[in-house]
Amino acid sequence: MFKKILIANRGEIAVRIIRACRESGIKSVAVYSEADETSLHLKMADEKVCIGPPVSAKSYLNMESIIKAAKETCADAIHPGYGYLAEVEEFAKMCDEQGIVFIGPTPHNLSLAGDKIAGKKIMEEAGVPVIPSSPGGVGSIDEAKSFCNEIGYPVMIKASGGGGGRGIRVCQNEEDLLEEFPVAKMEARAAFGNDELYIEKFITQPRHIEFQILADKSGKVIHLGERECTIQRRYQKLIEEAPSPGLTPALRKAMGDAAIKAAEAIQYFNAGTVEFLLDKDGKFYFIEINSRIQVEHPVTELTTGIDLVKEQIRLSSGETLDYSFDDLNIKGWAIECRINAEDPEKNFLPSPGTVEEYHPPGGFGVRLDTHLYQGYELPIYYDSLIAKLISYDTTRNGAISVMKRALEEFRVYPLKTTIPLYLQVMDDPHFIEGKFDTSFIEKFLPEEDEDDDDDD
């Protein structure tokens, strides 16, 4: 087992990892930027090293500086957390070369997980369902017609040169396709200088479901059940839960098997997440593998009783998995709300400031992962996640009641946060019923003005 781990991250996840180290009897090294001199993770770690100026590119993303800190403090492993260097192949390789264990997947895993096209091909070959799409550009309307008949409507026409949601047209039937295809081609030429189009199946009212996996060095892969991550705003997850109210035991089994197959197909190692879209008819499609510990990992921990960060450390030190999903005593329901320092009245713009009054929620069924404390000033340089509030109870309704009570208790005056939004969601009849898709949160948000020309 490792003697000392350097945590190459900040905020709540650094605190989370230091706690796992303490419980495991492993010394911890915190690294920090000049803007984080008062951050909680420094107070909790055994040692601390400043790795650069406030801007992340020069500190938390500074590979040389972090490796140097690990060498100086004689750390034998680095835990990257999520974000920053967690999925950077080059960093994992650098650790290997320096004889420091990178607590995470192999560099090869990271390179494949980062390449969506290659990844999709490997999954298709392994028999994992992927979103059907044309293998390349679709030149003529006849070609488009025959491909759409093959995969079935609705479909999306996308510009090969486009991105960020631009140049996408949804066609419900062949009539739409005949009308939209030529226009999309013209538009693509005008907007991207490239009129190549491709076609992808459009997933109606999808849910975002992901499976937590663990894999040891011998190649054994297990899953730890699913997380429901459908409630998102601009592709950012807001509320996650485990299990998902949208899965049947049969579907859970099928998706869990597919998740394991996906991980095995790339000889995955350590903790990871296989993400799927689930359509309203119960068909699921692989999206990608996230090769890191995820923000929402606590909901899995509460329902399985497995400490995922400790498992990451244990697996990286060469130990093996001697259990699988069926051995886990999965119990109860967990819900996580990501509390961001954002102002709901100003279109959820970040809202930095100093915590003058801090009252964290507690009591039965409440877990709070945070780096906040009374008097803490939020740096302007880093993202706005200030706390993850997780509730747990034997039933979903119970977990909702605990969450409501905990949200009401939570006070971080005078910061503006997303707490009021989550209180509304917990009272929403569709949320309570567990019936929602990825568009759910829109009804709670002000209408967006694309050009944000409204402010002055």
Binding site: P350, Y381, D456
Partner: protein, 86 residues
């Protein structure tokens, strides 16, 4: 965001954040001293907790002074630009 006093217009930070004059390191600045600007034209960017906001010109006019320094942290209300109204 702005206060008008005669022909002189002050553009101030609407919240704290890091000030950027360019859309990307290798690209030219949005405006220089002397640039003639239209109302709502982008003058610079302000990054707060990884979210970028556009700082827009409150009026038609000309940039007279760029007070804030590139890539430095600003506080809510700090003076960024002085413009001269058309």
């Amino acid at each position: 965001m702005a206060e008008t006093s005669g022909k002189r217009i002050e553009v101030r930070a609407a919240m704290s954040g890091v000030f950027y004059r360019k859309p990307a390191p290798e690209e030219p600045a949005y405006v220089e001293v002397g640039t003639v600007v239209k109302k709502k034209q982008i003058l610079a960017l302000l990054e707060t907790m990884k979210v970028f906001q556009k700082i827009k010109s409150p009026a038609n006019g000309k940039v007279v002074e760029i007070v804030a320094e590139e890539e430095t942290p600003l506080k809510d209300g700090d003076l960024i630009f002085i413009l001269e109204a058309e």
